[in-house]
Subunit: 255 residues, 4 copies
């Protein structure tokens, strides 16, 4: 089956995007390999350590880098970080992340739209991190986004699909790849999102807080593939107030 994810014209076999922020440099490579990621986020500062170790040394060259604009509180700051990342040869992809709220780390949707518009015009492939609001997603489409990245729950919370109903609306209404980013805490939750028709999952904390990071990476890889396969296979109906014998052949003995 040829089921590729295409973002900004580039093809991906994997639907698992790794957020690398919580991993030591030593772990990044193991997580990428076990999780089968083909795209990995990079915070500017980690690619920017001068004479010291650079995260880019730990990421295989075949991986697409996704620099993020973490630290930006306004569209202007996000744009500045994105440009710097491109100058540092991190490529054309950028995850726009504009956050003013320091407790829940919720994205500022309107500044995100502004940054997306500016960067898309400059030729970036823009993946905005967003609070899942249909009207905003439509504005992001208009602004030239190449995908939208709605949150499932606050960053790092591992709370799961708190925004489920509204992500479903994005899946149904928005004609761009939908990448669930932030809050997914377990492989089963990643699987569930994929069953809903989401196109990819970004994950960081759920893996970083597991006891066995490499094994959890593999678990996410499989769960995301399982959810995608289930979506393509077409889920069965649910019966609410009854059962149904597992076989037309089941009957009572004396029947």
């Amino acid at each position: 089956m040829n089921d590729q994810l295409i973002i900004g014209g580039q093809e991906f076999q994997s639907r698992f995007i790794l957020g690398s922020g919580k991993f030591s440099l030593e772990l990044v490579k193991a997580v990428v390999e076990n999780g089968g990621a083909e795209m990995v986020t990079v915070a500017l500062r980690r690619a920017n350590l001068g004479g010291e170790e650079n995260i880019l040394d730990y990421i295989p060259k075949t991986i697409t880098l996704l620099p993020n604009t973490s630290g930006a509180r306004t569209a202007e700051e996000a744009v500045r970080i994105a440009r710097l990342a491109r100058e540092m040869e991190c490529g054309n992809f950028v995850k726009v992340e504009v956050i003013r709220d320091s407790k829940y780390l919720l994205p500022d949707n309107y500044e995100t739209i502004k940054a997306t518009e500016i960067l898309a015009k400059e030729g970036f492939i823009v993946l905005p991190y967003m609070y899942p609001d249909l009207n905003v997603a439509r504005s992001l489409v208009d602004a030239g986004a190449s995908a939208v990245m709605p949150l499932a729950a606050p960053i790092g919370s591992n709370k799961g699909l708190c925004t489920q109903d509204f992500i479903q609306i994005l899946v149904d209404e928005i004609d761009l790849p939908i990448i669930v980013d932030a809050g997914i805490g377990r492989p089963s939750q990643a699987c569930q999102a994929m069953e809903m028709g989401v196109d990819a999952i970004m994950c960081n904390t759920a893996i970083a807080t597991a006891n066995n990071v490499a094994l959890m990476s593999k678990a996410f890889k499989q769960a995301i593939e399982a959810g995608r396969a289930a979506y393509l296979a077409g889920l069965g109906r649910v019966l609410n107030n009854q059962a149904e014998a597992s076989s037309p052949l089941i009957g009572f003995l004396e029947d």
Copy 2:
């Protein structure tokens, strides 16, 4: 990693048990192969068709058969069916299923305990289908069960883990393999059960009601493996009222 499931002294690599009742004979083989099942249920009647086609012809010889006692309304009937199955060379494994209720098809726990006790004494490897009640599970242990098979939801409903809290209690308190059987409707639900520490999943309707049966079989296989890996890897903590930056390196630009 050597992570085997052992039931009745026999080792299994796969934690997916296929309920075959809803599949045409043509489909059984595809489902077994794509799902990687090593154990498959067989209803007596399907193995009992005289000159006609026999389901056993469609199940690879390496597969462990799990004859069930479907159709039994009492312990006595279940015992009788189990003995017939053994005579027909279906082996020593038996899934005890005693159901009097024809709407919700809920198992009769007390008749199940009785049948389990009789059959275990006769040398069967007994896997009783049960309503997830801790006191009953303890009685099943005493009766000689080799595993317990609590339901997630009514048979064929695809409703998912309606009994979640009580299956967790069985996982924590019962020293036998726990196999969730009935009601699992999606790979993500199978994954979630496995993350809880359940030992295996039996599935039938969720696959049979999918549009693409072979692909859904594969999805369940992966989801069950993912859930097992996540359980072994150790799930991360959940934050309820806050977020946590994905990186200690995240800070605001001017900080």
Copy 3:
């Protein structure tokens, strides 16, 4: 509206039954009054303190006592406690509670059926505390129970309606009053159970662990009444994948 709850031939206006076990004697009266309870459980030992204070002194004479058999591990012990309670002039009502499991305090359904049968024959009005299993509920009907008291979650946990799907089955199939007992932790959960068609709620811990016990009693009273009214009024339909304007008069300005 004349909407009475009838148990054992006796009429009740209130559908809130108070479990008194966690209250100091001083608080019982306030809780009864604020909650509007007409039936209150009494543990034998609290009615049995010889020269000391007796809980019965704190319960208004108009209240129906519901002695429970807490402490019983077998049917035999439950029967013995029930008889003692009757000798102490606690009346004919008895809540049968047989618990062997000391961690989750889950009822032993089988011993509960046995005790119910014996006590019903002796003229008691028997309300058995049970794990919500349809087959067992049917056996309790046959044994002469006057109501069934399925648990929502483990006693004292405040976890809410963990057994929701199976309590709904009892509501739909069992022709006796269904009283949800144990696990209800918030007024909204009591309200939800009543909306499902449950006949009454027993509550103890949720009130006893509130900061303001009298006010929480009142909250439960109102929530139970609200849920009953909603059940009688008939809940509206749910739309899953769309919205519906609140008014046929809503239209866009220029329409």
Copy 4:
């Protein structure tokens, strides 16, 4: 207990706000009385029928009118409708509702902020209907809103608290009355929102789609009061993996 809701300097005893859009004129009065509402929404068109019947004739004079801007697709249109309503002597309260999306009827947060700012400066007491986004709520505070009205689920869906986690954030972080508006389908859901600390509930469809409208109005009234009382009383703790005997007096018989 003196527990008033204060919006725009005006005191309310009732925390139930009635959306009147789905009711025939005949029913409005019954719903207001049974629900104890002190504030009722009015769509401009219903107050604007010239020689014909006018909804204002059916609303008691003691009720505060809350004209809404339904039909507005932009801030400008909302402002225009609000001014018309004031000219028609509907008072200074206005519910700003700006909706461009015709399938899910989700509010346009950005246009809502703009309309709020303009109307607040003109002396209106502005209650904006919003998608529950913390950053937007903060902007609405800055814009001069007198309360915020986050949705629970799409209008008219009766789906309940789909946005629960994010409404809780508003309750915790925003220093204005939080009124849950849209999506509440059952009294238990209204009760649950109030237990979370929400200040008031607006309801329309759940009552309009009930079989018995007057009785459902009463149910909502009680459930909202119950939830408020529970919030003030302080909910008890939840135990996740165990039970707790309802009485220190419970022990096994022979202990």
